[in-house]
């Protein structure tokens, strides 16, 4: 093992230890500790929410809601997964809740129809990939975002999605197939 890999691992362990310490302090009523947890992880949570929802406004709402849910449920976190992984799980739940709420509104139905009919010929490169992901069902979006964007292992994704490692692999397989179909259809 090289020195850089060792230092990376040591850094990750130190970060997790510090997160755990902050969780304990926050549980003891130290609001500054939770603020620090928010500051340390908000970028990561925001990014995954943005990839799941496709716009900054909803991503901000989902990120806020995720941290509030985490604050209320802090007693349930026992450090068996990394705090960030636990936050991913809550964030994905919040994104799914937003998607369900939006899906039920007339406005969203119209937007979805408009989105499906929107020309995509001018969308290229990474934007085309993002668009294709956003057209997949939420469970497929989640596994692709966690695997390709957050670069989580299948085991970490299993922790984040609350399912087994094998289920993640199968879900990833299905999501890749669906993505490829969507990507092919949207390519100029």
């Amino acid at each position: 093992m090289t020195g850089s890999v060792e230092s990376t691992i040591e850094g990750a362990v130190a970060r997790q230890d510090h997160d755990l310490q902050l969780v304990l302090q926050a549980r003891a009523g130290d609001s500054n500790a939770f603020d620090e947890l928010f500051t340390r992880h908000r970028r990561y949570v925001y990014n995954i929410c943005h990839r799941m929802l496709g716009n900054a406004e909803d991503a901000v709402d989902a990120t806020q809601a995720a941290f509030i849910a985490a604050f209320k449920g802090l007693a349930r976190f026992r450090g068996e997964a990394a705090f960030r992984t636990w936050m991913y799980r809550i964030a994905i739940n919040e994104c799914n809740a937003i998607l369900r709420r939006k899906h039920r509104t007339r406005e969203d139905v119209e937007a979805a129809v408009a989105c499906e009919e929107a020309p995509v010929g001018d969308v290229q490169g990474d934007d085309l990939v993002h668009e294709a992901i956003l057209r997949l069902p939420p469970d497929m979006r989640a596994v692709l975002v966690l695997f390709y964007y957050q670069e989580l292992s299948s085991r970490e994704i299993a922790q984040a999605l609350g399912c087994s490692d094998g289920a993640v692999r199968v879900r990833l397989h299905r999501a890749r197939t669906a993505f490829k179909k969507q990507f092919e259809e949207m390519k100029p």
Partner: protein, 270 residues
């Protein structure tokens, strides 16, 4: 290798996760089959674009807008926390009782650790029990199945007509999903005994005999077929899912041997 079989491997091959004889067979087939070669190229392009987009995010992380600079916790959450902890600090006995209750809760309900906060919005991805807790012993599963099917027999050289999914419940644990090859005449006309061909979660870790998948699912039942590296051991593991998660018919076959190879070998042995 036929086109039908090749296409099951294409995604795994394009993702660089297929090695060995299967990878060679896919490569050889695609060199001679324009249809499969085109499909492979399509997969390779889509997956490369995905990886490229993921790497770009690594470099160009989205910065949260200013609206997310501070966390605005709801007043009731802050007040509630202050109230609880204020009372606890004012009353040492209460604090001790709460600590004892918390300990009891934790020690009696280990399966609920690290759960997400409760609420209807979290129901969609309710946590499963840990794999360790879910793995039944071979004896438990056999006891549960004894009234349903005969004891499993080694079935390496038999090709069952069709697998049947049986769900068995172990006392105090979640369901184990068992795929059973049914009794009856095989394609070669011999009489078959019912046999367990796959169990999920796998029993391999508890010293049970290696699971041999001898039944190829019906084509329309196959949801996916993937070979991936086990992150711990580096072994190649095959995951073949059958059925549909939504209607409860879903089952995943997990094996170290390629189930499609096992079928071919069993057929050749007859």
């Amino acid at each position: 290798m036929t086109c039908r079989t090749t296409r099951r491997y294409l995604q795994t091959y394009a993702a660089g996760e297929l090695e060995g004889a299967a990878a060679v067979r896919v490569k050889e087939h695609c060199e001679q089959c324009p249809g499969c070669a085109g499909e492979l190229e399509s997969y390779a392009g889509a997956l490369a674009a995905l990886e490229q987009a993921g790497r770009a995010q690594g470099r160009d992380f989205l910065e949260p807008p200013a609206a997310l600079a501070n966390l605005r916790l709801p007043v009731e959450a802050q007040n509630g926390r202050r109230l609880v902890w204020g009372a606890a600090l004012a009353n040492g006995v209460l604090a001790a009782v709460l600590a004892f209750m918390a300990f009891q809760f934790v020690s009696q309900r280990p399966a609920e650790r690290d759960t997400v906060p409760a609420g209807p919005e979290f129901a969609a991805v309710a946590p499963e029990k840990t794999p360790e807790a879910a793995v039944p012993s071979a004896g438990d599963v056999q006891a549960e199945l004894s009234h349903t099917v005969a004891p499993p027999v080694q079935a390496a050289a038999r090709v069952p007509a069709k697998p049947v999914v049986v769900r068995a419940r172990r006392a105090g644990a979640e369901k184990a999903v068992v795929v059973v090859a049914p009794a009856g005449p095989s394609e070669a006309g011999e009489t078959l005994e019912p046999a367990v061909v796959d169990v999920r979660p796998p029993l391999r870790d508890e010293g049970a005999p290696a699971v041999v998948v001898v039944a190829e699912p019906e084509e329309e039942q196959v949801a996916s077929h993937a070979a991936m590296l086990d992150e711990d051991t580096g072994d190649r593991v095959f995951y073949t899912s059958v059925g549909d998660e939504k209607d409860g018919s879903y089952v995943m076959l997990i094996s170290h041997a390629d189930p499609l190879d096992a079928v071919a070998a069993a057929a050749a042995a007859l």
